[in-house]
């Protein structure tokens, strides 16, 4: 018997709990479709700002033995072009989550106003990017006060579920999540990459990333993200989307046992390509069957 992988978050039905994390392959609707065709349960767009952004100089991504560093710098064509690009997002074949960024509350509102009728299923607000000046952690947004203010400001403009993406490592992250929940957030995404970190090429004595430092993700991040989700599960009542280093069916189950209702994949897609969604869900289904679970939802929070 095949295990049931369906999950429901904020009333959205996902055929399985995997979500394409923001920042990977989410520039065009066609590429999101391609990821859905490869088995993703939902997909997130690349983050959308009010105005176009070129992003950081390259290299924007490097890998190392324990994961990956990235400093993409939020390159995107801006809200107006994004609105054209993602029009009728509901036709992609799975829920499409819009990632919305800003340097001020007015910025977030301007983006939401532009794109709220594109057919998105939810909006994700990252308050936690560790490597882009003016945004997220470097923009002073990762505080309970800002989390509450930004959440309330965007909730006013749209009835879509609002997901707040927090840092897995900042000491105040549970307070940020609580503040967002109190202000009306519908889910917490835990979380962003950690750090930032740096890798230096010793032959040329230069940091490799164009921005010199970047968010750390992949295998190194997984136990930290799992712990963060575990803590959140005891702190907030709204759904939690786990994100950090999940690369196999076992990792997926682990993250859900910590308390995640769904799991976003980033580095794994980078390493394994879009087909990693099918691989991970197949592995998870196999594990559930071997262990006599009928539904994947049975494992949520099981580690508590």
């Amino acid at each position: 018997m095949t295990a049931d992988l369906n999950v429901t978050i904020n009333g959205l039905n996902l055929k399985n709990p995997t979500i394409l994390a923001s920042g990977i392959l989410g520039v065009t609707k066609a590429s999101l479709k391609n990821v859905v065709n490869n088995g993703a349960g939902a997909v997130t767009t690349k983050s959308i700002s009010a105005l176009p952004r070129q992003g950081h100089p390259a290299p924007i991504i490097i890998t190392y033995e324990a994961g990956m560093l990235n400093a993409v710098g939020y390159s995107n064509p801006g809200a107006q072009k994004a609105k054209e690009e993602f029009q009728n997002a509901q036709t992609v074949g799975a829920p499409v989550i819009a990632s919305v960024i800003g340097q001020s509350i007015e910025d977030f509102q301007a983006v939401v106003e532009q794109i709220k009728d594109c057919g998105f299923a939810a909006m994700e607000i990252p308050l936690s990017c560790p490597h882009t000046p003016g945004f997220g952690s470097l923009g002073g947004q990762h505080t309970p006060q800002m989390a509450a203010a930004i959440t309330a400001a965007v909730k006013k403009l749209t009835g879509l579920p609002i997901w707040i993406k927090i840092s897995p490592t900042h000491q105040n992250n549970l307070k940020v999540a609580q503040a967002a929940e109190a202000a009306g957030a519908d889910a917490i995404v835990a979380g962003n990459s950690m750090g930032p970190g740096m890798i230096i090429d010793i032959e040329t004595a230069k940091p490799i990333l164009g921005f010199k430092m970047g968010g750390v993700s992949g295998a190194a991040l997984r136990p930290i993200a799992v712990r963060c989700v575990y803590d959140l599960y005891q702190t907030v009542k709204i759904p939690i989307i786990g994100c950090g280093g999940v690369a196999s069916g076992r990792d997926l189950i682990e993250m859900m046992m910590a308390g995640a209702q769904a799991v976003a994949l980033g580095t794994a897609v980078f390493i394994g390509g879009a087909s990693v969604f099918n691989k991970i869900t197949r592995e998870a289904a196999g594990w559930l069957e071997e262990n006599n679970y009928k539904k994947i939802t049975e494992v949520i929070g099981l580690a508590h």
Binding site: T28, I60, Y64, P207, F270
Partner: protein
Amino acid sequence: MSIKNPAQPTIVKIKKIIDEAPGYKTFVFEYPLAGRPGQYLMLWLPGVDLKPFSIAWQTQSEFALAVLKRGEFTAKLFAAKAGDRLGFLGPLGTYYNFKNKKKILLIGGGCGTPSVVFLAQAAREQGLEVDFILAARIAEEIIFERFLADKGVKVFHRFQNQKYEHVWDLIEDKIKAEPYDGLYACGPELLLKRLVDLTLNKNIFCQISMERYMKCGLGVCGKCCVDPIGLCLCQAGPVVTNQLANQITEFGQYYRDASGQKIYFDDKRQKADSCKI
């Protein structure tokens, strides 16, 4: 999770720099690259940026990149000297297939020329008969003519014969006159588009190298994702068949810039930006 690691640059020294034409230089590196014709590298100027370049030629122990000075990055690269250390990721991407071909026609234009020069070298080493049309606006921009002739490639360009005002007329004449069993090209997209239409029509095997803004080269940043198939050309390309090119509806229409914004080829102001690195 095991990480295959092409994502940190390999560091190499510039062995020598050859002046090809005004604003065109070949950078030679000592390194057994083992790339295939049509593949490219992401070249890293430490502390500056990372940009894609096709492999222009290689030997057992060396490889070369031919660079047209077009923008900020290439200006800084032109300031480099023999002995300087640079990094690269690669070889990356798809490559030209010339298996079982006998007589092929290659077309190279502008910063697209090196990609097919490497194919000419490899095809001659396999004993194929190779004709090569060099597309250029002015005679001074004709590059690699001697290099190709030395390899036994027959080189054609419109400055040899006043008969041709446009390179397209030369291309059409060659295709009419010779029994080519494969056509390969890299150059201005609108020229490639005509070639794809022509070869599909005449049912001739054809591969082109299609340029898109490749920022990471690793299939992640998504700037080179093409509509409507949604694949990243940094990995599904740059070399594509005429059939695949024909499925890409943006081919000959637009590409995306560093921000992901569409730039239309009919917008003259921004026409050549994808090459301006």
